[in-house]
């Protein structure tokens, strides 16, 4: 009797613990307020079972340092720094329970449950957000070098492919009244270059048109890649004046029927970079209806910026983000301190918000490339849960029917134990914080089938012992003891394979392995310990029982 009581207490404790583990609780989530667009904390009550991305919908990304555009010296260190940056960005971006973690030594995993706009999220994560300010080629050194470059190209056998018709050139220049606004001293040379260009149609010069700002050139959109490859030639690179670099503009400009992209020749050394930036906010300018990102530099950044800008009054300053010049470089009218702004033109405010966010969070140490992506729509996840639950219910009903039909009252006891089994398994998942995935759901359903195996083994053994003419009590005892070795063997072998699956598997498969392992543990408790207790109570109440309903 005392033995039964202590067993019942143990079962009771387990049940209470399981129920506690599964109790809905308050969870604080960071979400975007739909009215203000700001982040806020909300509290929701939910059952503490982690659903995998395949069940709740969302996005899983694996990123690595992109080495395709040049080697990165220490990818492991780069990914560690990238993790911090990405985490900051994601936290501000506002999804519930995001996961940012490093796997191995060079892979970053980002999981955003319930993400509705994968493209935008990817943009925020992947954007390098390297901001720099550089002075444009104020002395027109590059323009003066163009004839030499043309000459070198001619010598190398590269000729103007399809020189632009002269009319376009003149029209372009005619419409450009602000040309060489900053400094007039290069004008004569420019005219000389123009004539040489018209006469000889050099391979490079025929593709470039002087823009409105010193160091700015316009290139017909369809020739952008041609210019890019010309400038990348080693013999051309040598001729680009020392200390200068070239960057493409981000916007395409239409003039008449043709569209042009701006090429900016800028100083190689930035006057300041985004790592000295402290704050960035987006707003919409009421007057011009432009989206604007305002930024504030750190105190040190402010000093550097002040010193540099005071040296460059009346120069043009290109704002370069991730290698692309944003808008038209503004002229520096007076020295600038800690505050500045980036104009985004007619782009939507959300884009400005995103830019401000990534600027605040800082630049990635190296560009990241997505090596694996899984995005699951929330509706699909919901369908999967519903289908899985339906299959589970049908499976369990079938198992219950089989057990009750074959083992009658003993079967009923087994079924009672089975409900405890489901409770324990779910509580195990919730309590240890494991994640339930779609394959995990299958594992759960499957383990219900496997869970009754232990009971089947025991009951069959009891039947055999009864057949051998043993008393009910002895038969039950022997049934349990003799079936034990087989039960342990079978559970250990299944658990071992599940454990290996967990070790080498990825997300969903690990979920399967986990539910299987927890299921096995729970079934050992319920099928052996709980059912045994039920039998003990039964025999206790009917000590004179001659036949067992098994």
């Amino acid at each position: 009797m005392r033995k039964i009581r202590s067993r019942l207490i143990m079962i009771g404790v387990l049940v209470v613990l399981s129920v506690l583990a599964l109790m809905p609780r308050n969870v604080t989530q960071r979400v975007v307020d739909s009215t203000t667009g700001r982040m806020k904390d909300t509290t929701v009550r939910e059952t503490p079972i982690n659903f995998g991305l395949d069940l709740r919908g969302g996005m899983h990304l694996a990123l690595e340092v992109d080495q395709s555009r040049g080697p990165v010296p220490d990818p492991a260190e780069a990914i560690r720094r990238a993790e911090r940056v990405v985490r900051t960005r994601i936290n501000e971006f506002g999804t519930t329970e995001p996961v940012v973690q490093i796997v191995g030594n060079n892979r970053l995993i980002v999981e955003l449950p319930g993400e509705q706009d994968p493209a935008r999220a990817k943009g925020i994560i992947q954007r390098t957000a390297f901001l720099e300010f550089r002075i444009t080629d104020m002395k027109n050194e590059f323009r003066d070098a163009i004839p030499q470059i043309d000459g070198a190209l001619r010598a190398a056998g590269v000729h103007a492919a399809g020189a632009a018709p002269a009319s376009t050139v003149s029209q372009l220049f005619g419409g450009d009244s602000t040309k060489d606004k900053g400094k007039g001293k290069g004008k004569g040379k420019a005219a000389a270059a123009d004539t040489s260009q018209a006469n000889q149609a050099g391979a490079l010069s025929s593709l470039l048109f002087q823009g409105s700002v010193p160091g700015e050139f316009l290139v017909p959109e369809e020739q952008v890649s041609a210019v890019d490859s010309l400038l990348a030639r080693p013999d051309v690179k040598r001729l680009i004046p020392r200390g200068l670099d070239y960057k493409w503009g981000i916007e395409v400009e239409s003039r008449g029927a043709r569209s042009y992209r701006a090429l900016y020749v800028v100083e190689e050394k930035p006057i300041i970079t985004g790592d000295l930036l402290e704050k960035a906010t987006a707003r919409r300018d009421q007057m011009t209806n432009q989206s604007i990102v305002e930024f504030v530099l750190s105190r040190r950044g402010g000093r550097v910026f002040e010193r540099e800008t005071s040296r460059h009054i009346n120069d043009f300053m290109a704002i370069i983000l991730d290698g692309r010049v944003q808008g038209t470089p503004p002229v520096i009218k007076s020295q600038i301190g800690q505050r500045g702004q980036i104009e985004l033109g007619s782009k939507p405010l959300q884009e400005a918000n995103d830019l401000a966010l990534v600027l605040r969070a800082g630049a990635l140490p190296a560009p990241l490339v997505i090596v694996e992506e899984r995005t699951i729509g929330p509706s699909l996840g919901k369908d999967s849960i519903n289908d899985g639950i339906r299959a589970g219910i049908v499976g369990v009903i079938l198992v219950v029917l089989i057990m009750v039909v074959f083992y009658r009252l003993s079967g009923v006891l087994a079924v009672l134990a089975l409900t405890l089994y489901v409770l324990f398994t779910l509580a195990g998942l919730a309590g240890f914080g494991f994640t339930l995935t779609l394959p995990g759901l299958a594992g759960l359903v499957l383990s219900v089938g496997i869970a009754v195996d232990a009971n089947v083994l025991i009951f069959e053994r009891i039947r055999e012992e009864l057949q051998h003419g043993k008393l009910v009590r002895t038969a039950v005892d022997e049934g349990f003891t003799h079936a034990m070795t087989a039960i342990i063997d079978s559970n250990v072998s299944t658990a071992l394979t599940a454990f290996i699956l967990y070790l080498v598997g990825t997300g969903p498969v690990q979920g399967f392995a986990i539910t299987l392992i927890i299921g096995i543990a729970a079934s050992m408790i319920t099928a052996v310990f709980v059912v045994r207790t039920f039998f003990m109570i039964w025999l206790q109440r009917r000590p004179d029982m001659v036949t067992l309903s098994v």
């Binding site: 690595e64 994968p118 992506e373 899984r374 057990m403 070795t485 598997g505």
Partner: protein, 332 residues
Amino acid sequence: MLRLFANANYDFIKWRRWAYGLTALTIVPGFLLFFVHGLNYSIEFTGGTLVQVETVQPVGTAKLREALDAAGIRDAEIQQFGAANEYVVRARLAEASANAEGSTQSTAHAVSDALTAGLGADQFKVLRVEAVGPKVGRELQSKAFLAILFSFLVTLAYLAVRFEWRFGLAAVLATSHDILATIAFIRYLNLEVSLVVVGAVLTMVGYSLNDTIIIFDRVRENLRKFRRQNLYEILNLSINETLPRSVLTHGTTMATTLALVLLAGEVLRPFALVMTFAIFTGTFSSIYIAAPVLMYIEKRWPGEDARGARAFRATGAAPTESRAPQAEPTTR
């Protein structure tokens, strides 16, 4: 009291040749197909892009093909997936183009752009995107291989501890048979081999081994209990004694896997199908492969339990095997 196969007394070992024939008939053609066509690996392993879309109208794969062709996406494979208005577009990475990690990303984008152009933006919804770069694909391949290898080693080690090596070897051979049969099965139905299906195969390894262990456990017990009888009889006896348990356990497990096949949706179906077949073949091999193979092993390398293994028949039976009587009911 409802009992199935209670006190059954079938001579299972006698039918071993038929069983070998049957299983060879399943496995060999399957493997011929396997060597000619290979398996249908999921993009997890090959690298590539999968886009699952739901259209407002059931437009049919031809219409989707048209939309993708118009956008110049040629190598994609389009398949109706579950419901009539759900489709899966798969673009596997060719071996040659394994250079660009980012290309899988752009493919996903290109597919949805192509469908927007071909069907209209409000006519479809992207339910799922998977894009796996070639590097991750190669990693998963080696991981799956490692998983299978390790599970074999670990179960071998476990068997070595629990049983004498002859039993262990027989159990491993039976399990190997199950893996071969399952590969043939996957090939017949041309199921997509994803990581989850590999998981199913590994679960099957555990399940089938477990079944064999339960029979062998009984064999070990009976060998000690019935000193008079030879191995042939003991094997038959043990299989018969465990038969009710086998039928019931496999019945319940199969009920759950069949429920998964029929109700759990398209994503889990390959997994559920493999599991269902695995239960079947695991049961079959435990009875018809593991037990006779144990006989052969005991005949070749006789151990202390090898009594009668050489004769390969029950005691007192006529020398011609075809006329061998059934094993005597056990004296109790």
